[in-house]
């Protein structure tokens, strides 16, 4: 027998449910087209990072001038790394290193930052997983689960990480840091996700040196891949087998 009150109740609730589903599906289908107008170029923040790309840097040391620290200043500004307290405690996410061969006298100057290794030792040793590598090759610290043990700093052959040893003031919204946690070059991940270059690259370009090239190492048509295919390049401490994402030319 049909038409009992119970059956009618069931029917209405089922109808309501189906209606909601249909509405949701319609909204989900239409919404991306309406909301994500920049999908053609940008890497949508709502989507997970993909390993279809591997972000990398190429440093042409022949174009990098001794004494120029435009990249360093830009990084300090971008990430709010103001200089305060004892010099040995200050954070340096990128630094200029002067190298000289004592046997031949040959000198060169180059910026050194997190090398964004394919197999980063800092990620291997981190007990909580705070130190992690994004699918697109960017190595960074989740400051929310970093306990400040500094084991990553012990493990990094490039001395790329700095510990936040002081109270922080005037933080930068795009790159928040945390007292008692470890930080380091994150390849300006907030800019990269907006399809922009890291701050150091833009600063070097603005100064006219154009010693830094940023791009996708997996895209054979990217400028960085073309240069890497054309010229002899080196990774710092290649012998360690970590496969850094930062390449150097002229060293």
């Amino acid at each position: 027998m049909s038409g009992s009150p119970t059956d009618q109740d069931t029917d209405t609730s089922r109808r309501r449910f189906l209606g909601t589903v249909a509405g949701s599906v319609a909204a989900l289908t239409v919404a991306p087209g309406v909301l994500l107008v920049r999908t053609a170029e940008a890497k949508p923040n709502a989507q997970p990072v993909s390993n279809a790309v591997r972000w990398g840097l190429l440093v042409d040391t022949d174009k990098c001038t001794k004494g120029c620290d435009a990249c360093v200043s830009a990084c300090d500004k971008e990430h709010g790394l103001y200089k305060k307290g004892p010099a040995e405690d200050q954070a340096q996410w990128i630094r200029k290193v002067e190298v000289k061969n004592p046997k031949t006298g040959y000198e060169f100057s180059l910026p050194v930052m997190c090398q964004h290794c394919e197999k980063p030792p800092c990620v291997d040793v981190c007990p909580t997983g705070a130190s992690f590598r994004r699918a697109d090759g960017i190595v960074l610290v989740d400051r929310h689960i970093c306990i400040g043990c500094r084991y990553c700093m012990m493990a990094c052959p490039y001395k790329a990480r700095s510990f936040v040893a002081e109270n922080l003031h005037h933080q930068v919204a795009d790159s928040p840091r945390g007292k008692g946690t470890v930080g380091g070059c994150n390849m300006c991940v907030h800019r990269v996700d907006e399809n922009e270059n890291p701050a150091c690259v833009d600063a070097c370009d603005a100064d006219g040196h154009k010693a830094l090239i940023f791009g996708d190492l997996k895209d054979p048509n990217s400028e960085i891949s073309k240069q890497l295919a054309k010229y002899k390049t080196t990774q710092i401490r290649e012998d360690l087998g970590l496969d850094p994402g930062v390449y150097y030319r002229g060293i």
């Binding site: 004892p86 002067e98 510990f163």
Partner: protein
Amino acid sequence: MKPKIHYREIEGHSAAYWIMVAVFGALVVAGLLSSYYMEHNGHWVTGMTNQVVWGMPHVFAVFLIVAASGALNVASIGSVFGKTAYKPLAPLSGLLAVSLLAGGLMVLVLDLGRPDRLIIAMTHYNFKSIFAWNIFLYTGFMAVVAVYLWMLMERRMKRFTRPAGMVAFVWRIILTTGTGSIFGFLIAREAYDFALLAPMFVIMSFSFGLAIFLLVLMAAYRWSGRPLGDGVVMRLKNLLGVFIAAVLYFVLVYHITKLYMTAHHGIERFILLDGGIYTALFWGVQIVLGSLVPLALLYHPRLGKSRTVVGTAAVLVIIGGLAQVYVLIIGGQAYPLQLFPGMEVSSSFYDGIVNSYTPSFPEIVLGVSGMALAMAIVSIGIKVLRFLPESLEDSLVDPHHPLEVLASDDAAPEPAES
């Protein structure tokens, strides 16, 4: 048949006992305050920097953790290897092991940048990290030794002593291997990156742990007025001598191997020849004061029989051990990273130069407070539970003790501290 061993709590009513406990307590409070001071202001108030990221707290923490596993050896020799003479010492051995580990872990945790996030360390694991493994190994060690102590001290559980002791023994070997691997796995720094560090830490634990055990044993029996046989002390001091020699052997192999590899001549020159404080600590404290002098004292035909000399040797082993860990941890970081091997490098970030480190007062206090916590736990432990035999006379302990000596040795069990 030999008389039975009776375990009893120490009385611990004397003023001296309470003063001792109060001093340990005050040091623990001072350590907590130091930690608060460092966390509140940030680590820039310590001697640790972005160049030397692990400092004095880590020296103490690693020393204590290594010594903790070593302190369990005495119990293992009894339960696992069946040496009867060591069995009465087993409960104290287990208690000391757990206490030293608690002290070491306290220092380690309180030096974290975010000690308040301990719960994160307990809930987020990266199983490729030896540090994450160690969290399990350390907490597991506490549990395993606690069960072992229960089997040892509960008459009805006696038959499980051997398996429990076996598990604890295997666990402690793995634990110290893990602690050594914290450094052994680091490819970045030349002083580390060496598989030998893991077994070297195991052998260091034998030596450091036994030195502390000997001191605690002699102090506890002397201060509580209980008899402690010369045979017991002689047995332990001879074993300590063997362990000191074994550590020396590992140190020798470590440096000979690194010296053989041309690429490591820089770090070897730094530690052995021109590293300033590190060279002085290595030769002066670790090798001479902490190894050769105690060896000579312990094996000297006349001096080696004096308990004062044995105690002095044990203190020297502890000082030498701290120096060894200091040279390894701080010296290994002071020597610059080799970004471009063979090149001269310089930067604003102290590349290419020897990094300086001066331990700050709060760091030292925090480190010492770890030792104080361990000693506080032992002091209170032996007062509330039956860890110590009423007597450790040779006639009671030594299975080979000749009966005629027993008769003529004025060895009738006398009630201690009645």
